[in-house]
């Protein structure tokens, strides 16, 4: 002891010199990462070795979840991120590892999910030689990421990783990819912590809204006679505080609230001011309120084509206020009167402060007329359906699932298609971060891995993937992951044997020519569940539905629930392609489904 103190103490930097692979592990720990979703391969073996050694020394501070396909890793990271607000972390190998991850990376880009993806790369001296498992990962992912890096010097690695986390989680969140050649993983360099690195770029997103624009917005809202809040995923991304502020500001103004698919949960479905989701499969009242409003307050949504319907007939008489952290979202699809660039939570707080400072109150007389109109729209009961004693209606399955799970601590994920829209319509979300779905990209196969990510982040909670029998097969292999980590996720399949949304569009748009939308051969989902080691439940009798749903949610193990539903049910209401918000098909409309969409609409997606 004495002897060692008399020697020159090793310098700080010498003590912190480590291999590139160890730098990755240390940087992850310093970034507060506790879970990584990944799949090993030749070009990331040094990082996997560093993870092994770290867990021997430091226990389970960095949990690695071994998926069965790299797409599963990215969706699981999305589910983890969306249910926690923290970035999802993915580790995959070069070549096919990277290309398999791309779907989930684009999904995260479209839905603004913070994600950091580490890909292995062939050693620097082999780059460009068509080496084994070489792919131009940064080239391929340039358009798929918010930013990406190829690290050619281990000395850059600490800065690049800390920068990547900063970029992924700030501003409009998104995926950032770091491609690390194998020789850089072996090379030794000095580690620097998050506070020691100097960022090398000019990236500095603006979060505070312009006070002049905020004053203009308040003046518009105060004079509004028919206001509506149109909110989106930006409110969720701005953190739980933003949802609180939205609720407070909506209450002050007395305005109704609708939300995009991505924004469900920011405003409680139980609140009387809630109109339900808007857009193509939104409610009659939400879409009509959007069409007829005089002031629209868009918070953290982006006027997507699924929301606006026919653009030239979109909310023709309204003044529009758009709050978005991404300046390029403002005036992209729809011209607005007041554009406020900033974080949804921060701008909502400033709006509340300006509203109070101006002594404004809700215009009760005008609002009473507006609410009477909304109640008339509500009276159309646009989400109604005809129940049956012999066959389970898909809407009924979601309603019962909601009724039997609403008092539990529940997280819902979905795949993509009719079941997704029915879930959005009939499952009533009261809190943010409880709903995970692939909105922008519309990725079939998203739901089960996302459920795995959410379950890992919330081990004691009930996590349900509402699925279709077609979508679930796109990432079915991840059931094996759920078994390995004892994750009691519930896969609730609305099985109608059809790619239901494709079938619905073929009925509406293509003369009922059902080209390749029927699954002639489906697996026995109960046996499939059992083969993986999960519990399988089948239900086709409406009378047994409740008991079997309870059996599913009370099971401590992963469950695959094969819910046989009406095969030809259409997802309604619907704004047909090329139509406006006030031209919806309603379940009681009695229209000839084949004739409601004209030639121009047929050409749209």
């Amino acid at each position: 002891m004495t002897a060692s103190t008399t020697k020159t103490a090793p310098s700080q930097s010498a003590a912190r010199e480590m291999t590139g692979a160890e730098i990755v592990v240390q940087a992850l720990v310093d970034q507060g990462v506790d879970t990584i979703f990944g799949y090993p391969g030749g070009a990331v073996l040094p990082i996997y070795d560093a993870l092994f050694q770290d867990s021997e020394r430091n226990g389970d501070r960095l949990r690695h979840i071994l998926v069965r396909h790299e797409q599963g890793a990215t969706h699981a990271a999305e589910g983890y991120a969306r249910s926690t607000g923290k970035p999802g972390v993915v580790l995959v190998t070069s070549g096919p590892g990277a290309t398999n991850a791309i779907t989930g990376i684009v999904d995260a880009l479209m839905d603004s999910i913070p994600m950091v993806v580490f890909t292995g790369q062939v050693p620097t001296h082999l780059i460009g030689t068509d080496a084994f498992q070489e792919a131009d990962t940064v080239g391929i992912t340039r358009a798929c990421t918010k930013h990406n890096y190829l690290v050619k010097d281990a000395a850059d690695l600490p800065r690049v990783i800390h920068e990547a986390f900063h970029i992924a989680t700030s501003g409009r969140p998104g995926p950032v990819l770091i491609d690390i050649p194998k020789d850089i993983q072996f090379a030794r360099s000095v580690y620097q912590g998050p506070d020691e690195v100097t960022f090398s770029h000019g990236y500095a997103p603006k979060t505070k809204g312009n006070p002049d624009r905020i004053a203009e917005a308040v003046a518009l809202i105060a004079k509004a006679r028919k206001p509506v809040f149109y909110t989106g995923g930006g409110v969720i991304n701005a953190g739980p505080g933003a949802s609180e502020s939205l609720r407070a500001f909506a209450a002050m103004t007395g305005a109704p609230v609708t939300s995009t698919l991505m924004g469900l949960g920011a405003f409680p479905a139980a609140d009387p001011a809630w109109l339900g989701m808007l857009g193509m499969h939104g409610t009659f009242e939400a879409n009509n309120a959007m069409h007829d409003c005089d002031v629209m307050i868009c918070v953290g949504a982006r006027f997507d084509d699924r929301v606006t319907g026919r653009l030239d007939a979109f909310s023709p008489g309204s003044k529009k206020i758009h709050i978005d952290i991404d300046a390029s979202s403002i005036n992209k699809n729809v011209r607005v009167d007041v554009g406020i660039i900033g974080d949804a939570g921060s701008v909502l707080d400033d709006l509340i402060a300006a509203w109070k400072a101006g002594g404004h109150t809700a215009n009760r007389n005008a609002l009473d007329d507006w609410w009477r109109q909304i109640d008339a729209w509500r009276a159309r009961q646009c989400l109604s359906y005809r129940a049956s004693e012999t066959v389970i209606k898909p809407q009924q399955a979601i309603e019962r699932l909601y009724a039997l799970t609403k008092d539990r601590d529940t997280y819902i994920t979905t795949e993509v298609g009719q079941h997704q829209m029915w879930a959005a319509q009939h499952y009533r979300f009261q809190e943010p971060n409880r709903w995970m779905t692939s909105g922008g990209l519309g990725t079939m196969g998203y739901g089960m891995p996302a459920a795995i990510g959410a379950q890992l982040a919330h081990p004691g909670s009930l996590v349900i993937d509402i699925a279709g029998e077609a979508s679930i097969q796109m990432c079915i292999q991840e059931l094996s992951t759920a078994i390995q980590y004892e994750l009691p996720i519930k896969i609730f399949i609305l099985n109608n044997e059809w790619m239901g949304m494709v079938r619905q569009w073929q009925q509406l748009l293509h003369g009922e020519r059902y080209s390749h939308s029927y699954s002639e051969s489906l697996p026995d989902f109960v046996k499939l569940a059992e083969a993986y080691g999960a519990v399988g439940i089948r239900c086709s009798d409406p009378a047994e539905l409740d008991a079997k749903i309870l059996e599913m949610i009370d099971s401590p193990r992963p469950v695959v629930f094969d819910c046989r539903v009406e095969k030809n049910e259409n997802c309604l209401p619907m704004i047909p392609s090329g139509k406006a918000h006030n031209e919806m098909i309603l379940p009681d409309g009695g229209e000839d489904m084949g004739s409601v969409i004209d030639d121009a609409g047929r050409r749209l997606v």
């Binding site: 080239g139 358009a143 000019g202 990236y203 005036n331 050409r603 749209l604």
Partner: protein, 182 residues
């Protein structure tokens, strides 16, 4: 039913809107792939590139300057600027066209082949435009001309009937008048 409006939910072409040329000057991090990020953005979103120049301008700061001339309706140009500003490697975006202090210059090399009066006329026009002769043979000239793009267009138009053989242009460079840098 007469319906003059476009029926498409995706109809963002805004037919009938006047398209303008615009020049954007970009200060970018000089790192591998940065040009691809910028050009890829234009390709992915369907924007036009009329001309593009790029070179490192500050070795110590590792920055390059990219000058892009594009064409679009006003709202498209606004969107291009906003999209460019989102690219992490792009430090500054300046709309030179909308800046009254913006100066734009381009260099062109113009090869003209001819004899007799055409040859004399070509030299005379070159003199008026202050173009330099950088190569001469008994039957051809190569002229070097710098100026705003419109000046080069006029020069080329005048040379065409006089025996224009080949034209190369650098694309537009820009800088602001006055003492301040970008």
């Amino acid at each position: 039913m007469t319906d003059p409006q476009p029926a498409s939910a995706y109809d963002l072409s805004h037919a009938g809107e006047v398209e303008n040329l615009a020049t954007f000057a970009l200060l970018v991090d000089n790192e591998s792939g940065v040009l691809h990020r910028v050009v890829g953005l234009f390709a992915a979103r369907g924007y036009n590139i009329e001309s593009l120049t790029v070179a490192e301008t500050d070795r110590n700061a590792h920055t390059s300057r990219i000058t892009i001339v594009t064409r679009g309706a006003p709202h498209v140009l606004e969107q291009i600027e906003a999209q460019l500003k989102k690219v992490v490697s792009v430090r500054r975006v300046h709309d030179v066209t909308r800046d009254p202090r913006g100066i734009e210059r381009e260099l062109a090399l113009v090869k003209v082949r001819g004899a007799g009066t055409d040859r004399v006329e070509a030299l005379r026009v070159a003199d008026i435009f202050r173009a330099k002769v950088v190569d001469t043979t008994s039957e051809s000239f190569v002229f070097e001309i710098t100026g705003a793009p419109a000046k080069i267009d006029s020069f080329v138009d005048l040379m065409r009937p006089l025996g224009l053989v080949e034209l190369t242009r650098t694309g537009v460079l820009s800088i602001e008048r006055g003492p301040e840098g970008m």
